[in-house]
């Protein structure tokens, strides 16, 4: 799949022009720059990704027949993991529009491609709805008497499904609106579309903030209906933004859009900052719950640490999601080059997915976390193959950078700021 993305498209004439202009101003050729500029060959068919997805779907259905609950949890994990990338990219695009950012224009199209795949997730969401009874214990009517009255009102099957539809409506409408405007601008003569996008992004940002928090409450936090945390929405947002940034870097580098090391430096700074932000929020939640040690709150952490394997995994999370990225990205060199940023974005993606695994899986009450990993893997492959197929299709359909954006020049001239 990575190879499919890697040999994505032949560079257009306009791109070659920009690439040449860039070469006039490159400081030194970077090793990875050459790696991404091998002789391009178009991927003629992407149907193998569909086939791959169908193959794993078959495997997953076999799992689902034998162990429905485990398979459903695996699917939920895959769905939420990939959805965080999409939501993070959407936030990225909207923020860039809202603040009229110049530096990121060259990378914005990769983010828009990821943002656009949200319609795919609306279809994938159906499988979560079908498996709802296996996933969420509050769907069982006998469970409800334990919940508070607000919980009774909020967590019931019909309202939950309506809310899900609402979130996807908001996301699909806003992503179609923003992306279509941006794609249309490639042919536009003036900058009026940019101004429209900027104005629309203020409203969409607000809507995204609400829908993302409530989606995290509905789909992740309600797995443990007796536990609640008011910081969970922002905790989920931090994960979203990290995976979003990492996937943007990943797609951006693989599409071989001309860039210079200053873009990498900016992405590195954002990754570094949001790694710290994620840790800060995760620790804030943990600290308060650990200190007060109330029986109704501590359940979240006890389910994740009551066996030795889960306890160990919680520690690995701190190490791989905070300590390693922190000491890796604090160096200026490592933010400055293509290779380390590419490596770090893959690292962040992988370990944030592990973090989502850690959020979802312990609810099953398994003693060891590596029990039937094949369900998770096959579910992940279903979602990922479809996701990448959609991105490849949009890469072929649209320009790979916003050709007529008023800030394109500024983005190409992106200079280092000490």
């Amino acid at each position: 799949m990575i190879m499919a993305l890697y040999r994505l498209y032949p560079p257009s004439e306009a791109e070659m022009r920009i690439r040449l202009r860039r070469h006039g101003r490159t400081r030194r050729p970077q090793p990875y720059e050459n790696l991404f500029q091998v002789t391009p060959t178009t991927v003629k068919r992407d149907s193998f990704l569909m086939l791959l997805s169908m193959l794993f779907l078959t495997y997953w259905i076999i799992c689902w027949i034998s162990i429905p609950t485990r398979a459903s949890f695996g699917y939920l994990f895959a769905f939420i993991s990939m959805l965080t990338c999409v939501l993070g990219s959407s936030f990225f695009v909207l923020i860039q529009h809202a603040v009229r950012a110049g530096w990121s224009v060259i990378a914005r199209r990769s983010a828009e491609f990821i943002m656009e795949t949200v319609s795919l997730f609306a279809i994938l969401f159906l499988l979560v709805v079908i498996n709802m009874k296996d996933l969420y214990i509050w769907t069982d009517p006998s469970c409800n008497f334990e919940l508070a009255s607000i919980g009774m009102f909020y967590l019931n099957n019909v309202f939950w499904i309506i809310r899900g539809i609402g979130y996807f409506l908001v996301w699909i409408i806003s992503s179609k609106y923003i992306c279509q405007k941006s794609f249309n601008q490639d042919q536009a003569k003036n900058d009026s579309l940019s101004i429209t996008m900027q104005k629309a992004s203020y409203i969409f940002l607000l809507l995204y903030a609400y829908t993302t928090s409530f989606a995290s409450f509905d789909w992740v936090m309600s797995l443990q209906p007796h536990w609640f945390s008011s910081i969970f929405g922002i905790y989920f947002f931090a994960t979203c933004f990290l995976t979003g940034l990492a996937s943007i870097c990943f797609i951006f580098l693989l599409t071989r859009v001309p860039s210079n090391t200053n873009h990498m430096y900016d992405f590195g700074k954002l990754l570094f900052g949001f790694t710290i932000f994620w840790t800060y929020i995760a620790f804030s939640q943990f600290m308060l719950i650990w200190y007060s040690d109330l029986p109704e709150e501590i359940g979240f952490y006890t389910t994740r640490s009551n066996t030795e394997e889960w306890w160990r995994m919680s520690f690995y999370l701190i190490f791989f999601n905070f300590i390693v990225p922190f000491f890796f990205l604090i160096r200026k060199d490592n933010k400055w080059h293509y290779g380390p940023i590419f490596f770090m974005s893959m690292w962040t993606l992988f370990f944030q997915f592990i973090h989502i695994y850690w959020l979802i899986m312990p609810i099953l009450g398994e003693e060891k976390w590596w029990y039937s990993l094949d369900c998770d893997f096959s579910a992940m492959m279903i979602v990922m193959a479809l996701f990448i197929r959609k991105i490849i299709r949009s890469c072929r359909k649209y320009e790979l950078y916003p050709k007529n954006d008023p800030f394109l020049e500024e983005s190409l001239k992106c200079e280092k700021i000490h």
Binding site: R27, R28, W290, Y291, D293, W336
Partner: protein, 182 residues
């Protein structure tokens, strides 16, 4: 001879000082300083070199070190206080409960690195300083107004009072002056 601080050349505008600097550098002088009324575009690259690797890391490395010192110091202090010196039972938690130590450790690490950034910066810049031999020159007062100056330190290995004067005059300097230590 030992009383010489350096040789100061005066230039009319930023173009001439740029040419002068390239000429002087091509002659092999290393210990050079530029004084100008405003930042000259491209001068930094000229001094630093285009690659980042040659940029000095003294400040960032020192700050990182002192941050680590602060981290360990406060960790030692809290551990000593709450485990050995004055053990208190708080809600039945172990005396060495690490999560509770993290906020002060975070704060003190930042405090140490913040303060040492300022102190190290001042030290590396040679500040505070009461007097600089350059203030002896009357012409140098125009550096805050409209003149550009190039200084070659006497500690430079190629420094030779007659030869350096000739070199500077050849690089289109308006005037050349010897600065004495006092």
């Amino acid at each position: 001879m030992n009383n010489i601080y350096g040789m100061l050349a005066e230039y009319e505008d930023q173009g001439t000082i740029f040419e002068g600097l390239t000429k002087i550098r091509s002659l092999g002088y290393k210990k050079i300083d530029i004084f100008s009324p405003f930042p000259i575009h491209g001068m930094e690259e000229m001094f630093m070199g285009k690659s980042l690797k040659r940029q000095s890391r003294k400040l960032s490395n020192t700050v990182f070190g002192f941050g680590m010192v602060g981290f360990l110091a406060i960790f030692g202090l809290i551990t000593w206080v709450s485990v050995f010196n004055y053990p208190l039972n708080i809600g039945g938690r172990p005396l060495m409960s690490f999560p509770a130590f993290i906020p002060p450790m975070f704060e003190i690490t930042i405090l140490f690195s913040g303060i040492t950034t300022v102190i190290t910066m001042l030290y590396l810049n040679g500040l505070p300083k009461w007097h600089n031999p350059l203030f002896n020159s009357v012409k140098f007062k125009r550096v805050t107004d409209d003149r550009f100056f190039l200084l070659i330190y006497a500690t430079d290995c190629r420094f030779n009072s007659t030869q350096t004067q000739i070199d500077l005059m050849k690089s289109n300097a308006l005037s050349v002056e010897v600065i004495l230590k006092d």
